[in-house]
């Protein structure tokens, strides 16, 4: 099995004025190609911090992250941005779409940033939107879409640059059970059909169980790693 992502003893402490808030206290694990890994933990356990660090959105205080064998600490800010653009896809709890752009334009954004031609942008973005089942909603703005649809657009956007890994931070946290279930289903399908690797952060035990593996995070430390059922 190929290791796509590796975290080695990563530590991160936030400063709130004079108070130090340790968010991660030494986290080590690997993500293998083609798996769905969930990080399960209660609120404040450090899940988002971990995800941001894995996705090169933030830096560690100590320890190292390797994405595709590349040590992120050796990259400058611009190179990290490029890595986020080409190797990593983010999905957030609150969708984080640009409100003024249509679904299609939102999905085109990463391609635009990667200097892909207009024509190819359009083709690829519509293709991915079709894949997530939104071919009929391409020219709608986020406010004209339901939560589930918005999250599908976000997934399409994370997918459009063919990343090696998609990092999702509580993707169902803002959806009702049924819609959340559909989003999980979509991720499972992308995983099966395209072999897409996912790291999904959740505090929902049922959701965590659907993964191939589950990492239990508590107070910035891994409590245990367990196999999931892999089933919905």
């Amino acid at each position: 099995m190929t290791v796509i992502l590796e975290a080695k003893d990563i530590k991160k402490t936030y400063k709130m004025g004079d108070v130090l808030v340790p968010a991660l206290k030494g986290v080590t694990f690997k993500v293998e190609k083609g798996e769905i890994l969930t990080v399960f933990g209660s609120s404040g356990s450090g899940k988002s911090t971990l995800l941001h660090i894995l996705g090169a959105l933030d830096r560690t205080d100590e320890g190292k992250v390797f994405v595709g064998g590349i040590d992120l600490s050796t990259l400058n800010d611009s190179e990290l941005a490029d890595l986020r653009l080409r190797k990593v896809g983010f999905v957030f709890q609150f969708f984080n779409l640009l409100p003024r752009l249509t679904a299609l334009r939102n999905v085109e954004l990463p391609l635009t940033l990667a200097d892909v031609s207009d024509k190819e942008c359009r083709e690829k973005a519509s293709e991915v939107l079709k894949l997530v089942g939104l071919e009929g909603r391409m020219n709608h703005r986020p406010t004209e879409l339901s939560g589930g649809e918005q999250q599908r657009v976000a997934i399409a956007r994370s997918l459009v640059n063919d990343p090696s890994i998609i990092l999702a931070d509580e993707p169902t946290g803002n959806l009702d059970t049924k819609t959340g279930f559909e989003i999980v289903q979509l991720m499972k399908r992308l995983n099966e059909e395209k072999g897409q690797t996912f790291v999904v952060v959740t505090h929902d035990p049922a959701m965590a169980e659907t993964a191939d593996r589950i990492i239990y995070l508590k107070d910035g430390l891994i409590e245990g790693i367990k196999k999931g059922s892999g089933r919905l």
Partner: protein, 412 residues
């Protein structure tokens, strides 16, 4: 990111906040308008003044006394022509800056009397002493008189006097002396010489210098010095002062032209400076609105960074917005500045000043400036507008670019 994409995104963002964009752009438009209105009026004024001064003979220097007791003699004039190499001819003239009554039968006119040596005067002002009717008799009689165009022809087209007519000049010599009458015979009427000249010949009558001397019983009160070349104006004026050792002043059109040009440069620069402040204020407006915009779009910037936008992508997005504001403001400011200049020019032309001094310039003087839009000022203002917009946008744009993505994403 390709430039086209950056600009189309910037355009979309600006359109989204239409009112705000319009008001910000308005600031730039006002700045550019102010600069171009001032400069195109300034250039128009410069052209007008230059044209008027250039209409004077640039190679003739007028020597005039300072104070009432100074007069020039024929020797002074000869001394000047012989001693100073750059002088072609120097001729004394008699002229009193006093209107004189001219009568023919029932008709009368007001004129200015100029006593000249016709031969020398013709050398000095070959293009002024041109006869429309008649000619100079040989030899010239003491009672010879030549009428300026406007003296002979009244505005209504009526002829006051023609060749061969007898006219009477009523002369007030000065003090408590009574008005005396002198009779002259008209030998010719000059062609229209234009009213914008330093000596407005159209409103004058010319009599022989010797006759004028007899009438006034004084030496001459002015000299006309024709130069080999106009470039010697200033140096010759100085040399004449040294030579004659009399309190005199030299009026050199070419020096006036140069000095006026210098003054206009300074005035224009000063006004552009003030107008430029308007543009700087517009720059502060851009900075202000951009700072607000960056704050409002913090989350959006976070999202863009999360999906892979680099700092310089964010920077160029904001700078592109400023550039579009600067470009649009500049483009709209050009016609608006030119328009304002025309409006101001119209407003100025309605203020008329009355001048009754027939010697320097006669009649009603209106300030009719035709604004001139010079390419270099347009280009200068346009570039300045763009540079100011970008410069003031740089600070907020850099702030946006440097936002920490994680914190930006958490921003509510």
């Amino acid at each position: 990111m390709r430039r086209k994409t950056v600009f189309s995104m910037a355009w979309a963002n600006l359109r989204q906040r239409r009112l705000r964009t319009t008001l910000t752009t308005l600031g730039v438009i006002i700045g550019i308008t102010a600069i171009l209105a001032v400069t195109s009026l300034g250039e128009g004024f410069r052209a007008m003044v230059t044209e008027q001064i250039e209409y004077f003979e640039l190679d003739v220097v007028m020597i005039m006394p300072v104070g009432r007791q100074t007069y020039f003699t024929r020797e002074d004039a000869e001394n000047i022509s012989q001693t100073i190499n750059e002088v072609a001819t120097a001729t004394p003239v008699m002229q009193k800056m006093m209107p004189t009554g001219l009568y023919r039968g029932e008709k009368n006119a007001t004129t200015f009397l100029l006593g000249v040596n016709f031969t020398e005067f013709k050398i000095v002002y070959p293009e002024r002493l041109v006869f429309g009717e008649g000619s100079l008799p040989q030899p010239i009689e003491n009672d010879t008189i030549v009428l300026g165009y406007s003296v002979a022809h009244s505005e209504t087209g009526e002829v006051f006097a023609g060749v061969g007519d007898e006219v009477t000049v009523a002369m007030y010599v000065g003090g408590s002396l009574p008005i005396r009458n002198y009779n002259f015979t008209v030998v010719g009427v000059l062609k229209e010489g234009g009213a914008g000249t330093l000596i407005s010949i159209d409103n004058m009558v010319l009599i022989p210098l010797s006759t004028a001397e007899e009438i006034y019983q004084t030496d001459y009160d002015m000299m006309l010095v024709k130069l080999v070349d106009q470039k010697y104006s200033e140096s010759v004026a100085d040399e004449i002062k040294d030579l004659l050792q009399k309190p005199l002043t030299a009026l050199a059109p070419s020096v006036m032209l140069q000095r006026t040009g210098n003054i206009l440069d300074m005035v224009e620069l000063f006004l552009v400076g003030i107008a430029g402040i308007a543009l700087l204020v517009a720059g502060v407006g851009i900075m202000n609105i951009m700072t607000v915009s960056v704050m409002e779009r913090t989350r959006e910037i976070g999202i863009l960074k999360a999906i892979g936008a680099k700092n310089r992508n964010i920077l160029s997005m904001f700078l592109a917005e400023a550039a579009l504001i600067g470009l649009t403001g500049g483009l709209l400011g050009i016609p608006s500045g030119y328009g304002l200049a025309h409006f101001l020019s119209y407003a100025l032309s309605t203020f008329r000043s009355q001048s009754s001094n027939g010697f320097m310039q006669g009649g009603e003087v209106a300030l009719n400036i035709t604004p001139i839009l010079s390419l270099s000022w347009v280009a200068g203002a346009f570039v300045f507008g763009l540079v100011v917009s970008l410069l003031f946008a740089l600070y907020p744009a850099r702030k946006a670019a440097k936002l920490n993505p994680v914190e930006a994403l958490r921003y509510e």
